[in-house]
């Protein structure tokens, strides 16, 4: 959009992806069209700014809830870990297997070491 060589007003628009410049007019007609276009541009800028502010407000409004969710998630996670659960591949929570402690001086079957025939079974 603009004054071509300062003599006549043109508008540019896209047609099938190509920019096409169309002649609007010279003299008073051109001046009026230029003023209307300027007002429209200004209005669009105002609308864009209002939408941007509204979007920022909405995002800010969601923020406390996002924080609350994160806090609650951490709390629940901690509670489950303490209760002996572990998350399986970021999905299901499963009870952690606790391996029974082998008393000192005994083999896996609980027999005293050196008395049985450990390792002899085939």
């Amino acid at each position: 959009m603009g004054w071509e060589r300062g003599r006549y007003y043109t508008r540019s628009r896209k047609v099938n992806g190509r920019v096409v410049r169309e002649y609007v007019g010279a003299g008073l007609g051109g001046i009026l069209a230029a003023q209307l276009d300027a007002e429209e541009r200004e209005q669009r800028a105002v609308d864009r700014e209002a939408a941007r502010v509204a979007e920022e407000e909405m995002t800010a409004l969601d923020q406390p809830l996002v924080e609350l969710n994160a806090l609650a998630d951490r709390l629940i996670r901690a509670a489950l870990l303490i209760a002996g659960y572990q998350q399986h591949k970021r999905g299901e929570w499963r009870k952690k297997r606790v391996r029974e402690q082998q008393p000192a001086g005994t083999d896996k079957q609980g027999r005293p070491l050196g008395t049985g025939s450990s390792g002899g079974e085939r």
Partner: protein
């Protein structure tokens, strides 16, 4: 783990403080969603109270109450986002995209909150273990049946 255990020793206080935070979030969301429409505000407040009571039940632990609070707040957030989107006029594609993203995010948070409460309930249920021959059968006692 010991550090975690120590931190969680004050579990009730921690839940309480997060609960207070949840109350603040509720006031903010409610004021923003209802504006100056007092009747609407009162109706939404009552609905949320009932929803919270239904979700938590009578013998809820502090954690379950917190999660019920969270679900209620997420529900309000989803409905607020949908209502605002439906009331908006002459939106550009960019704005429609923004609102859709916002609704999707709110919906994801809502579902996640429900899933967490279900997980906590499921894992806290007392399970009766019965061994029949070599097969192990877990019978979970249902509550309120």
């Amino acid at each position: 783990m010991p550090a975690l255990r120590k931190a969680m020793d004050g579990n009730a206080a921690l839940v309480e403080s997060i609960g207070n935070f949840a109350a603040q979030v509720e006031i903010t969301l409610l004021n923003n969603a209802t504006g100056k429409a007092l009747a609407f505000k009162e109706a939404v407040t009552r609905k949320m109270r009932r929803m919270r009571a239904d979700l938590a039940g009578d013998s809820a632990s502090p954690l379950e109450r917190l999660l019920a609070d969270r679900i209620t707040l997420c529900w309000l957030s989803v409905h607020d986002a949908e209502l605002r989107f439906n009331q908006s006029k002459d939106l550009t594609w960019k704005q429609v995209e923004f609102w859709q993203r916002r609704i999707d995010a709110a919906h994801r948070r809502y579902l996640s909150a429900i899933r967490t409460l279900a997980t906590v309930r499921k894992l806290a249920l007392p399970a009766l273990q019965v061994n029949i021959a070599r097969k192990q059968v877990n019978v979970v006692s249902g509550s309120g049946e």
